[in-house]
Each structure stands twice: as C-alpha cells, then as structure tokens.
Symmetry: C2
Subunit: 194 residues, 2 copies
C-alpha cells in the first residue's frame, strides 16, 4: 500500500473507533487491527497518539466544513432554505446511524477539552470557523428579508451550533431523532420566525 | 470510618474524578487514592466499576434534582423568574469552576450512551424527569400569562435542556461562559418572549 493510502486508512479507522469508543478508550492496537496494518508502522506515520488524534480530528473537520460549504453555498436555494436543507441532511445522517456515535467534534470537546490544550485549541478553531460560516448565511437570510433585521446573527449562529450539539448528545442518549426534530422546529419556527 | 461514610467518600471521589477524566479514563485505584481508602475495600461496597459509576451518577442526579426543585418550587418568584434564577445560578457555578468539568449527566451521555445500556437507561430517565419538571414550570408561566399560550411546553422544555447541554459543552471547549450567556439571552428574549 502506498504511504499516503496507508496513512489515510489509519485515519479513517481512527475516526470510526474514536466515534465508537471515545479517544481515551481507543487503543492504537485496535486502530491498527481495524485498518489491517501491521503493528510497528504506526509511529512511522504519527509522532504520538495525540498527533494521530489531532490528525483524525482535522480530517473530520475538513469533511464537516466541505459539507457545510456545499449546502450553504447552494445559490439555487434562498439562504434560509440552505440552512433548512443542511439540518434535514444532518438529521437523515444521524437517523441512518440510529443516532449512535454522534459528532466527533462534540464528542472530543466533551472528552478532551480539560485534558489536552492541543485538542482544545483545535476544537475552538473548528467551532469558530463553523459559527462564522453559519452567521454569514444568516446575514444573507437577513439581507433577503427572510429573518428579522433585529437578530444578532453572530449570537444566533453560536446558539445554533451549540444547541445542535446538545440535540445530538440527547439523540444519542435516547437513541431517537426526536431531539433533532425539536431543534429543527424551534429554531426555524420560534427563533428565526419573521 | 463508618461503612456509609466510606461509601459516600468513594462516591464523592468518583464524581470528582469522572468529571475530571471521564468514566473510562478513571481507574478504580485513582478513586481509592483520592478518597484515601485502602485498596481492596472497593468490592466490599460495589459489585463492579459499572455499579460504582451508576451509583455516582444516581447521587449526582439526586443533587441535580434537589437543586432544580429548590429553584422551581420557589413560590416567592413568578414561574419564569424561577427559571431565570436557576439559569443564573448554574451560570455562576460554571463560571466559578472556570467552565471546566461540565455536567456529569452530559459528559456520561456523550461517553457512555453507546457503550452501556445500563448508563443509557439511567441517563434517559434523568433527562426525562428534568424535562418534565421544566415543562411543568413553563406551563405555570403560561398560566400566569408570562409566555405565549401557543407554545408547546413539553417541546420547549426538551429544547431548553438539550440546548443547555450544548452550551455547557461549548463553554468547556472555549473555557468561557459566553455560550451560557448566549443561551440565556436567546432563550429568554427570543424563544420565550411574549
């Protein structure tokens, strides 16, 4: 297997295992086994488990950002409908995985924020960037007259992102998409209503 | 030390350590050491680490519920002001711990929902009970004419609880109470406004 491909396989196995078991509870051996990569090669690709974990997170964040941009840049829809479609899409994804696993960004925030400054700094940046992107779309919705001009889009974007993480956490706990549907309903009907 | 007191000391040490390190990452030895209890006595009090973890959670949930009731049963305030005071109080508590640790209910939901049916069942029940208590207070606010009669208080209570968990998660990540203040502002000014 080519070097880059081996590395990508390890990162993908890490994503799966971190989502299933968390970071601390996932051994490097389990990652190597899941990726069918011989032991001993891990440290050829990564300096440490933390280096590996951060690269898994970066890769996840990149996919997350690509997805977000894909929906929020869709000029065939109004800004508010882009956000609606994005939430519907996420909801379907979580339904398809029976609400298990959750979101790696939320999971690692919960688990690692107090334990690793490197994780905390990276997660802070990921949230900030997503929040800015959502605020931008909300500002466009405001310009299009879809939501009240009086709303503070930066604050709303923050609330949106955090509440969504809370909804995922609860969906995972009760293994039902009901919390995501409640988020959807209240955000669009009460918070953003004209 | 009397038996009940030893057990309580172990449960309190467990609460602290689970809040700091998570459940999987906390060894029983560390709990015994923090509690200054000799090794070997753990299995006299608990059947297993899971049994211990569930009892730590039950004890935390009991305190959480007592606090919630204390605020929401305060008949010297209007129902909506009871909720306001409760949020202010939580916010101050999280500020005093520099937004570290978070909430054990949210932390264990994130970490254990996919890994232990026993934890998942207990957490589901804790959330349900808190949600019902908040819904009851919102219904009282509705009867008092403080919030619109059109609001679905059960859904709102769910959204409230989940969004608050998301705000705690984010506060822990950025180590700032800003997400809690945003929750407070948007919940009271946009979602519940008359």
């Amino acid at each position: 297997m080519a070097k880059e491909s081996t590395k990508a396989t390890l990162l993908e196995a890490g994503r799966q295992i971190f989502l299933e078991r968390g970071y601390n509870n996932a051994g490097i051996e389990a990652v190597l086994q899941a990726a069918s990569i011989p032991k001993g090669s891990f440290y050829y690709y990564f300096d440490s488990k933390e280096d590996f974990g951060l690269q898994v997170l970066d890769r996840f964040a990149e996919c997350f950002r690509t997805d977000l941009d894909q929906f929020l840049n869709d000029s065939t829809l109004s800004p508010l409908n882009r956000l609606r479609r994005y939430v519907e899409n996420r909801l379907e994804r979580l339904r398809s995985q029976e609400c298990r696993k959750g979101c790696l960004i939320g999971n690692l925030s919960q688990e690692m924020a107090d334990q690793s400054e490197a994780f905390r700094a990276r997660l802070t940046q990921i949230f900030k960037s997503a929040s800015e992107r959502i605020a931008q779309c909300l500002a466009e919705a405001q310009q299009a007259g879809e939501i009240p001009a009086s709303l503070n889009v930066q604050e709303l974007a923050e609330f949106w992102l955090n509440s969504w993480q809370g909804a995922i956490l609860r969906a995972k706990t009760i293994r039902s998409i009901a919390p995501l549907e409640t988020f959807q309903k209240i955000m669009f009907q009460l918070v953003l209503e004209k």
